[in-house]
Symmetry: C2
């Protein structure tokens, strides 16, 4: 009987030890959080978006946009940090085709989705960057060809289905020169290239630096895309700072009901050893860094500056 | 000598075979693309963003916003699909504190960054969702406490540094009832909870469903955050459709120069077996699905609807 009691005690103690080990063990990190810790947190982030200001290049057919301080409707006077402790901004935006854009097909075809009707899966994708800047240097009206895409694939492998393909032309290096929007010759993307990317490679969407897809009189590339239910990015920036392959891109845009473009945000997530971009924690995020000058409303520029 | 020549031939042929195998081998997928293929592509995506329309709830001190079709400045007439082959939208937005927001500290303190000055690392983060909806059901003015956060940690482990913490109250289930913005009692986040999240847990930012952080007369929580260089999300939606732990969130917002809030986009990336959300490819993306009715401008609602 003594032996039996001893056995019982040993079993009981083993059970207690087992329980306490279990409680003390660190909880397993959920898989998507592991992905963040191991891959996304160590990445370099590059913003591919232009800052929107009243004087940025825009098609003359849309007219100018205006920024104003938000006004108290009861007094008709702007809210100020000094008087009210806060400020806000009134935007009079003549078009949703402004700055860096994500065009939904309803911009040209009301049978297809508006900006608020795109699925939530437009969030993050593999990013392909096809360079044509050397050809554009010799011909400002150069348009991406199927051959350029095939050359990219010879160097890097097949473009992944569902990816975002941005065409680097370095057109945006002159941004925000307002003359940019008036030029008849600019680097474009040929209809054949668009059809190859969508019909053969089944990409999510392509993007380009200029404010139009091509310089044909009928805008044949944009017409084919939007009339057939495809989306596209316009006014993309900083493509000289991202790798041709191996980065991801986050896709953000406000959700205006029945809206037809505009105000998108693209951020490239590049490998940790990439030469450009900012790492998580490299710039103080929370709290953010104080600036060396306060923001103030500039009456000439009609926006808040430092 | 014959043996030597044979040996040379064998070495040469081995070399050729080696080269050709190398060329035929599939190229290694870059690490971040592997992350997409293995983890992000199979995830479920849930939009945490309200659609912006002229009649959504907004603080009466900001006044209403207006949507109009974009007008041709030469004719004064709106562009129409029928006449021009495209349409665009004119937004007259009385405030950048509208809809689902990302408040930069410059909303209250001009010494800290405006919306266009946040680092590009505000792109994707681990998402923590702390539920208080059961307590709010008994007290519509319930505010998140430090104890609620500690209870979450007892269930799920420590909140990761740099994460985004959204507080689920189910307040947004009544959205877009315009009465929502007038209520003096609403679920909030206590100053102590905000300080615990930022000073002890070092999160990136927190977010809540209502349009203010707390119901104190001085808005003490928002004041502490924004005056000290922190950001926050407001008007967050659909938190009943995301897990308390283990999801990621993408963060998007337009980059208006000197801007002070507004028009943000948050999309949760949830595990593949999560019960809510849409998978990549589940809804046709490229081309998108045709709608059953065309978009048209509604003169009563003052926006484009189907």
């Amino acid at each position: 009987m003594k032996k039996f009691a001893l056995l019982c005690l040993v079993i009981f103690l083993s059970f207690v030890v087992c329980l306490s080990i279990n409680a003390a063990q660190p909880r397993a990190v959920p898989p998507l959080w592991q992905v963040y810790q191991q891959s996304l947190k160590t990445a370099k982030y590059v913003d591919l978006t232009h800052t929107i200001a009243p004087a940025i290049p825009v098609w003359s057919g849309f007219g100018p946009s205006k920024f104003e301080p938000t006004v108290n409707p009861n007094t008709g006077k702007p809210y100020t940090y000094q008087k009210d402790g806060f400020e806000a901004t009134h935007y009079d935006l003549s078009t949703d085709q402004l700055g860096t854009q994500l065009d939904p097909p309803a911009h040209w075809n009301p049978d297809y989705p508006a900006i608020d009707e795109l699925p939530a899966t437009f969030a993050v994708r593999p990013l392909v960057v096809i360079p044509i800047q050397n050809k554009v240097a010799g011909d400002p009206n150069y348009h991406l060809t199927v051959k350029d895409i095939q050359d990219w694939e010879t160097r890097h492998g097949k473009i992944p289905e569902g990816s975002v393909v941005f065409v680097r032309s370095d057109w945006s290096k002159e941004w925000p020169n307002p003359e940019l929007a008036k030029r008849k010759k600019f680097p474009g993307v040929s209809l054949q290239a668009l059809q190859f990317l969508h019909l053969q490679r089944k990409i999510l969407f392509h993007g380009h630096e200029p404010l139009d897809t091509d310089s044909t009189p009928t805008l044949e590339g944009e017409a084919w895309l939007l009339k057939n239910g495809y989306t596209q990015a316009e006014g993309v920036a900083n493509l000289d700072q991202v790798p041709e392959t191996g980065a991801l891109v986050t896709i953000g845009y406000p959700k205006f009901q029945g809206g037809l473009g505009g105000y998108a945000r693209y951020i490239a997530i590049c490998p940790p050893d990439w030469k450009y971009g900012v790492s998580v924690g490299q710039i103080s995020e929370s709290p953010l860094q104080k600036a060396n000058k306060p923001l103030r409303w500039d009456q000439q520029l009609n926006l808040r500056v430092r």
